[in-house]
């Protein structure tokens, strides 16, 4: 007989997956991220919370170089995944994004069949040698996306014909089809109803066994429900970063307290 942890949030310390040091982001002359140091653990859900415009999405997008696509955006500092600098010139952003998958706020399935939505990534990255291989990847991804049972009989139907919650789980399945190591989610549930939200949250918790998941959310209750670590951003600063249980019961910084208790910050 061993002592069970008091809550499921008492997770073991995991290895550092992503390490960010002195990260600065500028949009033109606007200083959007100021001197952020942050270690994100493997096999852990890390939530980024903070008011609109605080920089949490910007910082999330630094982690798979999505900011490269914005001309006026400039990123400084070091971000490494498993010790490798992702901003190194030799790193191919496309390969990086296969390793660091992303799910967006609005479900955005390709206007293709459910099967092709999942198969697209593995195909362009050459992950499947045969049709049978591809079939297996599609089934496995849809199963891990917790949507297999709902779509297995209509894999040829368009992905856009699914409900919002199903589309989002399809997008998550699509993101994990390339076997990423990190999954970034930018408000993945804000367009979903409470039932679909619960399903996605349950999925996030299952994905934690294999991936490092980073989720940006405006719902503090969602951050409290799904994450083990929480980072609070405010005006481009990482104000507080720690165990979710601690952040929501006894935060150190008064700005964190004001934000999570719904006071004017």
């Amino acid at each position: 007989m061993y002592d069970a942890p008091h809550t499921e949030r008492d997770v073991d310390q995991q290895d550092i997956k992503i390490s960010a040091r002195k990260v600065q982001v500028y949009y033109g002359t606007t200083h959007a991220i100021k001197d952020v140091d942050c270690d994100i653990e493997d096999k852990t859900v890390t939530a980024f919370i903070g008011p609109s415009g605080c920089g949490k999405s910007t910082f999330l997008r630094c982690l798979n170089r999505m900011n490269d696509t914005i001309d006026v955006c400039r990123v400084e500092g070091d971000i490494s995944i498993d010790g490798e600098d992702i901003y190194d010139k030799r790193v191919d952003p496309v390969q990086l994004r296969a390793k660091v998958g992303m799910v967006f706020q609005k479900p955005n399935p390709f206007p293709k069949s459910i099967y092709d939505n999942i198969a697209y990534g593995p195909r362009i990255h050459g992950l499947a040698k045969s049709k049978a291989d591809l079939d297996e990847i599609v089934e496995k991804s849809l199963r891990r996306g917790a949507i297999w049972d709902e779509v297995k009989d209509r894999l040829d139907a368009p992905g856009t014909g699914l409900s919002g919650g199903q589309q989002q789980r399809l997008c998550i399945a699509r993101a994990i089809a390339t076997e990423p190591e990190v999954l970034l989610m930018d408000e993945p549930c804000s367009a979903l109803d409470p039932i679909a939200t619960s399903q996605v949250e349950e999925l996030i918790d299952e994905l934690r066994q294999d991936y490092s998941v980073v989720i940006v959310t405006h719902s503090m209750q969602q951050a409290a429900r799904v994450s083990q670590k929480t980072a609070f951003f405010h005006l481009g600063n990482l104000v507080e970063f720690g165990d979710t249980g601690k952040i929501f019961t006894n935060p150190v910084d008064s700005r964190t307290e004001s934000y999570i208790t719904g006071r004017i910050g």
Partner: protein, 246 residues
């Protein structure tokens, strides 16, 4: 902790203020119950004792309403951090206050019996002084709660030692009276229960003061205190029964 601003949702502030106002009201009723029960004992005032017994229903009703309100705030507002600690501390404090009300009521009941008997030395005034000390501790604990004054709460916790020592002294006195004359035994047993009740009330006040520390800091008070009430563990606290045999 820095002074927190108001919530964006002002109804949330009103909810929290509401339950805190109720706990203060409850605290006021309990303060009165402690003093009135001790006074009724000292002045052998049966009417006052009866009043204490009747007023306990109001304390019980407040506890029930507080628990309902607290549950409602948790369900509807999902409080976090210091807000959550307010709700949790109010629920625990209301349980402490309710027990203190019961203990006062029990003192008042025993007063009803004791007025039929002869007074035992100067023990009634001693009990009243002890009750007065507990009542002051409660007042300070409630002030510390409202002012979020951690230092005052720590002071209250410290003062419980004095109450424990007063109890030890009374315990010895009762034993002496009982040894002197077995006819004192019935009264002394009642008086001893009263002393024990007051000592227990001191423990409840300590628990309330600990809630204040929890509320302001998010932590329990640092060290477990050594109990000063040693009557249950030390045999030599009792008067020397072999004295005559020496």
């Amino acid at each position: 902790m820095s002074e927190l601003k108001q919530h964006i949702a002002s109804a949330f502030d009103r909810d929290l203020e509401g339950i805190q106002a109720q706990i203060m009201k409850m605290g006021g009723l309990v303060e009165a119950a402690i003093m009135q029960s001790a006074k009724s004992l000292e002045t052998r005032d049966e009417e006052l004792a009866e009043l204490v017994r009747r007023n306990d229903a109001a304390i019980d009703a407040l506890e029930e309403s507080l628990n309902e309100e607290a549950a409602r705030v948790i369900a509807l507002r999902a409080p976090t951090a210091s807000d959550l600690r307010i709700v949790l501390s109010v629920m625990r404090m209301s349980a402490n206050l309710e027990r203190m009300g019961d203990l006062s009521k029990n003192i008042a009941k025993r007063t009803g019996v004791l007025v039929q008997m002869q007074a035992i030395g100067g023990t009634a005034p001693s009990l009243r002084r002890m009750a007065r000390e507990v009542e002051l501790m409660l007042k300070d604990a409630l002030d510390a709660y409202i002012q979020r004054d951690e230092a005052l709460a720590e002071d209250v916790i410290e003062r419980d030692r004095d109450v424990d020592q007063m109890y030890n002294t009374l315990f010895r006195e009762f034993l002496t009276f009982m040894l002197e004359d077995p006819r004192n035994i019935t009264a002394c047993m009642h008086l001893h229960f009263i002393a024990k009740n007051i000592e227990r009330m001191g423990d409840h006040v300590t628990s309330i003061a600990e809630q204040v520390v929890f509320l302001t800091t998010g932590r329990k008070p640092d060290e477990p205190r050594e109990k000063a009430d040693r009557t249950s563990t030390d045999a030599d606290l009792a008067p020397d029964m072999d004295k005559d045999g020496d």
